[in-house]
């Protein structure tokens, strides 16, 4: 195997594989034996862990290939592609070998039908190899750190939802579903095989096409702030959404319920509720933090600034703040749209379009406003203070406020929760859940009479105040 790999496996790769399989074994031990997928060594939880690990592993391996210093040493693009594909094959086999061994032994033990299990495992492996090839090709196209891991993370997330028929009522998903469904059914009919073969052919075609495209540098690139945002969306959207669904074993049926999840609010006031907050809030805050830290850390601009006139410095600072706010708001919208659209698609399955659209509008207004204020505040604070400190501060406020909603309601806590925008929905949930279910268009009426649109206006005013305060502070501070 070693001689087929252009680059040897590093200690970091091996630790990653060991870590993933340690988690794999723990989940196997903890999972319910009634889980049908588990009989074949496949379940949602296992699958997510293994796939996430694989994306990280492949991303790390792709880094070695996607540098031009590596590329030119292969002599030609053809030789490079050949070496990369052979290496991909070896890497995929190394990573998935333990899992395949388990699949085969468990499957044969349960079904006592070696032929079917071997066919299923074969399809499974082919799927993974094609996934790896596509990911590697996308990495070369994007020439961007973690680019393909993000892209495929997002695609696999959506594909996972479709595999569960949560997006559309069609029994089809490209990456995730085919092999998994075959395993779950445990039998293979001719129709299954045809469907699996069609999926494989589409993926093989895609992989071939991607490999033929010219690599990065000649492709159209996205605006820098959008690229940065897309990178962070990976942390905020799919991870939050999938883990949330997984932890709560949520079955779609109520749109409000799902959207409450996307707010980071628990269905039940127990440990799973607390986990929900953690799972959903932290990625969003982390994403905000990373984005803002990324945007604020422009040392070159600061250095250039130190040699220009005082008047220009102030103008630059104001422009920069404005840019931060605009890009921050755009970024927040991307995350929130991602989450809300998932919710909307879920919702469409259980209610009519008009009603779902009305709630979508309310949620977009509210969530965008919340995100805007959070980002405005943290971007200004990040420029003035240590970015890590701001992250801790914002996290503590947000988490603390959400937890506050669980405690005994006093006049003080109610007032505090009213001020803290992200918690307003929590407050309503705990005070007037019935009002929300019946009059979702008047989402916040029970609290202070504000409509969602007014919430957006209120948030805008908050953001403007923060902006003004930030400018004033910045003018007087000796931070440059």
């Amino acid at each position: 195997m070693k001689k087929h790999m252009a680059f040897p496996l590093r200690a970091k790769d091996l630790w990653l594989i060991c870590g993933v399989y340690a988690l794999y074994l723990i989940i196997l031990q903890l999972s319910s034996p009634r889980d049908i997928g588990l009989r074949y060594g496949i379940s949602g939880a296992l699958h997510i862990i293994l796939l996430l690990g694989f994306l990280v592993f492949q991303d790390s391996r792709n880094r070695l290939f996607s540098h031009e210093y590596s590329l030119v040493r292969f002599g030609s693009r053809k030789a490079f592609r050949r070496a990369r594909n052979v290496s991909l094959l070896a890497e995929t086999l190394i990573y998935w070998l333990p899992h395949c061994v388990f699949l085969l032994t468990a499957g044969i033990t349960v079904r006592k039908d070696a032929g079917t299990v071997i066919v299923l495992t074969f399809f499974w492996l082919l799927d993974l190899i094609l996934l790896a090839v596509m990911m590697s090709a996308a990495d070369m196209l994007l020439f961007r750190r973690h680019g393909s891991a993000l892209l495929f993370g997002l695609l696999l997330s959506l594909d996972y939802l479709q595999a569960m028929e949560m997006l559309f009522s069609i029994d089809f998903s490209l990456f995730y579903g085919t092999s998994l469904r075959l395993f779950h059914k445990g039998t293979v009919t001719a129709q299954d095989l045809i469907l699996a073969a069609v999926c494989l052919a589409i993926k093989a075609g895609l992989a071939f096409w991607l490999q033929r495209l010219p690599e990065g540098g000649q492709r159209k690139r996205l605006a820098p702030w959008l690229r940065s945002s897309l990178r962070r969306v990976w942390i905020g959207f799919p991870l939050g959404a999938i883990l949330a669904l997984w932890w709560n074993r949520y079955s779609p049926g109520s749109l409000e319920g799902l959207w409450l999840l996307s707010f980071g609010m628990p269905i039940a006031e127990d440990l799973s509720g607390f986990l929900m907050i953690l799972v959903n809030t932290l990625p969003f805050l982390m994403a905000c933090f990373l984005f803002v830290a990324d945007q604020s850390n422009d040392r070159t601009a600061v250095n250039i600034l130190s040699v220009v006139r005082e008047g220009t410095r102030r103008i630059w600072w104001r422009r920069r703040q404005l840019l931060l706010l605009v890009s921050g708001a755009g970024y927040a919208l991307m995350i929130l749209l991602g989450e809300t659209i998932t919710g909307y698609l879920f919702g469409l399955r259980s209610m009519n379009i008009g009603r779902a659209a009305a709630i979508l509008r309310d949620l977009l207004c509210t969530k965008a406003a919340v995100g805007f204020v959070l980002l405005s505040a943290s971007s200004i604070l990040c420029l003035l203070l240590d970015a890590r400190l701001v992250f801790l501060l914002v996290s503590a406020i947000s988490m603390g406020a959400q937890l506050l909603a669980f405690g005994p309601r006093t006049a003080f806590t109610t007032a505090a929760l009213r001020i803290l925008l992200p918690c307003r929905a929590s407050l309503l949930l705990h005070e007037e859940p019935a009002a929300m279910l019946d009059f979702s268009a008047w989402f916040y009426r029970g609290i202070d009479g504000l409509h969602p649109e007014m919430t957006a206006v209120y948030s805008g005013i908050c953001a403007l105040i923060l902006f003004g305060v930030g400018l004033k502070l910045a003018d007087s501070a000796d931070f440059l």
């Binding site: 070695l64 540098h67 031009e68 210093y69 590596s70 030119v72 040493r73 292969f74 693009r77 010219p214």
Partner: protein
């Protein structure tokens, strides 16, 4: 032909703008060539075309290998591109080791020697993300020369180097030339390398003209 680098009517357009415009060049082996010009004048694109990293209209032949036809890169080429950072999580030695494994032509001794030549410590175990700009540039030079290439394409090789390091760079270039290596240097810091070059070219708006020495 096998000892020359030939560009015939080479042009390249990006987003409607002509970054290389009908460039004709014929360069002999074993010499040092300088390409000077402002930022955005097309120097980098020219080197990337010779390295086979971009597809261009026209003909690029490097030591008898037609790059445009074979979709290939020149053999035995060492390269410094603008994006100098390799894999930030690994040490300098590990970075060189990863690259050297692709051609599998050199061993640890050559890698250590390359690092020492550019003034880096092969025993330094720190990941290169902790390196200064100058140290990263030196590492880029080390990876370019470690396999004793026949052709060196260096884009802004003196960026971030202090005076002593620039002097060391010149010395290395002279040694490489004496070994028979053909060296093409693109830079806007003409004073750093002009004295080394047998021929110099002015690149402006995608066009390349030889400078006549007085």
């Amino acid at each position: 032909m096998d000892n020359k680098i030939i560009l015939r009517n080479v042009s390249k357009q990006i987003k409607g703008k002509e970054v290389l415009s009908h460039v004709d060049l014929e360069l002999d082996s074993g010499r040092i060539y300088g390409f000077f010009g402002r930022n955005g004048s097309g120097k980098t694109m020219l080197l990337r075309a010779i390295a086979g990293l971009i597809r261009v209209r026209g003909k690029v032949i490097v030591f008898g290998k037609n790059l445009s036809k074979e979709d290939a890169f020149p053999d035995q080429m060492g390269l410094i591109i603008e994006k100098t950072e390799l894999w930030p999580q690994y040490s300098a030695m590990e970075n060189l080791d990863l690259l050297a494994r692709i051609r599998n032509e050199i061993g640890e001794e050559e890698m250590r020697e390359a690092l020492e030549r550019v003034g880096l410590d092969p025993e330094d175990k720190r990941p290169i993300r902790t390196y200064s700009m100058g140290m990263r540039q030196k590492l880029a030079l080390a990876q370019a020369i470690m396999e004793s290439p026949r052709l060196l394409l260096l884009d802004e090789p003196t960026n971030g180097l202090d005076d002593d390091a620039v002097e060391l760079f010149r010395k290395i270039m002279q040694e490489e030339q004496q070994r028979g290596c053909t060296i093409l240097i693109a830079t806007h810091q003409k004073e750093d390398v002009a004295g080394l070059c047998s021929r110099t070219f002015r690149v402006a708006e995608g066009k390349c003209r030889e400078e006549v020495r007085g």
